[in-house]
Symmetry: none
Subunit: 217 residues, 4 copies
């Protein structure tokens, strides 16, 4: 069997296991078994648990970004662009739940939240930072989109940079929560999820209370 295909099998298995068990709880034994190969082969091809995880993250992140990018037309109105991006996002996360689990389930843990931080970093889970970095890229991209939209809107060419960053964080967080929710208990279609999020983020709860809602024109 050619190397490329074997590697894909291993990554598939790893994504599945990392998604279900998280980085620390996942065991190389389980991954190798699910991939149908022996452990040394996994090490031969992918070097270490850390590298394997890294490869999973990169593959799934790239797939997600590609899917979103492919779903958005750049020559339409800002709200329409957002709608299309969200729809693509929810579609993709529904199609690849394990990939989404890997990307999302270990997000936090990068930043030294405790001010004093006497805890040595102890090569514990150094890899996990990678996910954080990826998320930050996405947030940066969304930040850029919002700023652009604000600039285009003639009435409000300048939102404070920091506020835009906050709005992007909020939007991304809301999208993540909805993706988890849609993949989990509730069975919600990607379009429904996107609509809900447009109503929430574009129109706002205030307007919603007054019966005004956003709709894809």
């Amino acid at each position: 069997m050619p190397r490329a295909e074997r590697e894909r099998q291993m990554l598939d298995a790893a994504v599945r296991v990392f998604g279900k068990r998280r980085y620390r709880a996942a065991s190389m034994d389980e991954i190798a078994e699910l991939a149908g190969v022996s452990k040394p082969l996994v090490y031969l091809y992918l070097n270490s648990k850390e590298d394997l995880f890294s490869a999973c993250i990169r593959r799934e992140a790239e797939a997600l970004v590609d899917a979103v990018r492919a779903g958005v037309r750049t020559d339409v109105a800002a709200d329409r662009q957002l709608w299309e991006g969200l729809t693509a996002f929810f579609t993709h996360t529904a199609e690849r739940p394990d990939g989404w689990a890997v990307l999302h389930s270990q997000a936090r843990s990068g930043g030294d939240s405790s001010s004093e931080s006497q805890l040595r970093s102890s090569k514990g889970d150094p890899v996990v930072a990678e996910v954080g970095a990826m998320r930050e890229e996405i947030v940066a991209f969304v930040t850029h989109l919002i700023a652009e939209a604000a600039r285009e809107a003639h009435d409000n060419p300048e939102l404070a940079e920091r506020e835009v960053a906050g709005l992007a964080q909020a939007l991304v967080g809301a999208a993540e929560a909805l993706a988890d929710w849609a993949n989990g208990d509730a069975t919600v279609s990607a379009k429904e999820a996107a609509t809900t999020l447009m109503n929430f983020s574009w129109s706002g709860l205030g307007n919603l209370m007054d019966g005004e809602r956003w709709s894809a024109r």
Copy 2:
């Protein structure tokens, strides 16, 4: 040293370590060392890693809920209530970043996202579900609030139940993301975070583009 105080020390240390390393990666050795006691004492007082984690979750969750509840007056307008609750939330998470880390960092992990799921559930980390349950309670509460507000607004007495649930998920997700962001890289005050989130969730991006923003009257 009296037992109660020692127990508090241990919980403080555990919250710190669990927050930074997550459940699996946290070691009882590190917790004991940070608490300044020997490992057997931790076991004598708190029984097991699982129980210790449980105790952390319960303590921090209760503190957070109390803080939010204390910050909200119930005899004011719906948007004002939301603003007050968010402010209290961001204030608390900023004051106890480790507590927030414990509560938030291991949220996802419950749902069997992969449809086939040939992976045995392996008694691994059954505790973590506790956090998920807590989050669901909060979401349920927020869901209730939104439905209530919709009922009060004469123009829109009935939102589809499922849509309300989605909105609650989105709101909670956005708040979580902002809390992480405010505690991390950006240094943002609780009030700023609350304002940003009100603009986002109450007014909506569409209005924001038009220069209309929410403000605490």
Copy 3:
């Protein structure tokens, strides 16, 4: 509470726990709790787990020996003496099952059975030898009785010393097995057990097959 009584309580608890769990598996915590005192007090009075076990063995062994001795008249025929001793033995072990469990349950393990014996003795369970010593005393006593009886019997004044020792071992082993059996599943009275053992050891299976049985005249 006077020391003597406290000590008795502790020994009672220890006999119970040692009997049920064996030396290694018994924990000082459980003994102290069952005795209704704190652990340091147990150490104050009985010094160490090893000494405590020793004390249990001595107390129960003495009680057993006393009971048997008190039940045997020395001025009767040899078989009658044996019958009386066995009856007393079975009566006592039925009355104090925990005591018997302590005495019997850790019997073996003294002798270096493996010829080469590269295993270091490793202060593992050094105490247990005590039980073996006690058992050997009993066997020696029974050996003496059999030899005496043989000498009294005019037809067979001299049995080979080694054979007598073997017979004593067999008799003691049979009695132990019957005591366990009588205390356990089967509910058999002391007299029944003694009769069975007299039929077995005095008359022999061969005679039993022919319908001849021993009876207390």
Copy 4:
């Protein structure tokens, strides 16, 4: 080194250590060291301390049963059959003293001897029951043999069922005690031990006193 051979080495070591120290006191470290391998390998091949112990018991029990079965001809007189079985038994236990130690050293421990029994059973050593079960099988087999012999003897076709059970217990207990004795202090050949036990159990002490002894015709 092939797996099968390594496994045998481990079982040899385990039998030795379990025999000398008993289940609880035996440490996997010592077993691994005696087997000349690392601890993880023991776990890889034999799963757990409990499984390892179980494997020891099964191997040694099977070997013993096979040896006895092979030594007995079924077409000879009852007493001759008993003699042959005992000889095979004592021969085997002398040849594999460690195996015998494992089988015999943890026999008792099942029955709830103390009537009230407030002691929680505490999952401690559930394995040990395995040995007890084995012994009960043997006793049941001997019980069957004795009943059969009684039925064949025309003079005594019916012994009370309960009495037969007691006789079997006594016979097995006597054999166990003699095996321990023969392996320990005294150096006694298998044939001597068998002869002693035949004199004891077949002829009975009463006949012995009168100079009548059993002999292999």
